[in-house]
């Protein structure tokens, strides 16, 4: 991990990973979704709407695991002043927000025909909406300060405080009465769904992780270059003043 604190080395690693991440993203997302749309059977209760789950479920996983990654990176940035961790957290937020938005929209589109309503204010849906607002708040905090080091600290603290929401989302279906069904893939006893549904889900989820990594490669590189440009200009200005 220590070697990765060096931005130049981190950038080289990111550049090397980028084409592979892109390949996994495109192959996994297209393959998994085509599988879910074309080859998997309809559900005996949900009918064809079950196909929405091949997007909804991986998007929900991504929304949560990207937030987890963001919180860990923020902790590393606060505790060890790890220069790259902060930028990884910053670059993750829009990707996590995008997946959470997809989860919310597809959930509503599934809920209307199956539950008879686009939205209910129950624990699972509300905690997921809070996750989306946490992402937006995090992004807004970065923009709210002129000084990037202060913005980074404030945003990192928000990311860490907001992490309490993650177990609330995960266990909301067990702790409260809710319309949302309980976990069926990530359970202590292993997946409880048929392989014909599980496999397209897994392939799509792998593709979604590839997409996250791909976006990180682009966005972290952009963040490092912007920061270097800022430092270059700043040191040139102080040199002029000193000279």
């Amino acid at each position: 991990m220590h070697a990765l604190a060096n931005p130049a080395r981190f950038m080289r690693l990111m550049t090397a990973i980028r084409p592979w991440a892109a390949l996994v993203a495109v192959a996994g997302l297209c393959g998994g979704l085509a599988w879910g749309l074309l080859f998997s059977p309809p559900d005996y209760q949900q009918g064809e709407t079950v196909r929405i789950m091949y997007i909804h479920v991986p998007a929900a996983w991504m929304g949560m695991s990207i937030y987890f990654a963001m919180a860990v990176a923020s902790a590393a940035a606060l505790i060890w002043r790890h220069p790259v961790a902060e930028l990884v957290a910053k670059a993750s937020a829009p990707v996590g927000a995008a997946f959470t938005l997809i989860c919310l929209v597809t959930g509503a589109l599934w809920g209307k025909p199956m539950w008879g309503t686009w939205w209910v204010w129950d624990a699972r849906l509300t905690s997921m909406l809070i996750l989306f607002f946490l992402y937006l708040g995090y992004i807004a905090l970065w923009e709210a300060f002129d000084d990037p080091s202060r913005a980074g600290r404030a945003a990192a603290i928000l990311a860490l405080v907001g992490a309490v929401n993650l177990p609330v989302i995960k266990f909301s279906v067990d702790w409260w009465n809710t319309l949302h069904q309980p976990a069926s893939v990530m359970t202590m006893e292993g997946p409880k769904i048929d392989p014909s549904i599980l496999w397209p889900l897994v392939v799509t989820a792998v593709g979604a992780h590839g997409y996250y990594l791909w976006m990180l490669c682009l966005r972290v590189r952009a963040e490092i270059l912007s920061r270097q440009a800022r430092i270059l200009r700043f040191s040139a200005a102080t040199d002029r003043r000193a000279g």
Partner: protein, 59 residues
């Protein structure tokens, strides 16, 4: 292949109005973020090159 005809596939058992918008919105969001990320990187690369030129002039 589960489907027997293109019409069946497009109709999605009567749920076309929910299934297809789900896929369309997801595609748009992921594509949009991808394009925005690429544009952001291009801007940062230009800015970085410009900063190096500026500094080169003053050193």
């Amino acid at each position: 292949m589960y489907w027997t005809s293109l019409g069946d596939f497009l109709a999605m058992g009567g749920y076309a109005g929910f299934v297809w918008p789900s896929f369309a919105v997801s595609l748009l969001v992921l594509l949009g973020l991808g394009l925005q990320s690429r544009a952001r990187l291009k801007t940062a690369e230009r800015d970085h090159a410009e900063a190096r030129r500026e500094v080169g002039r003053h050193v």
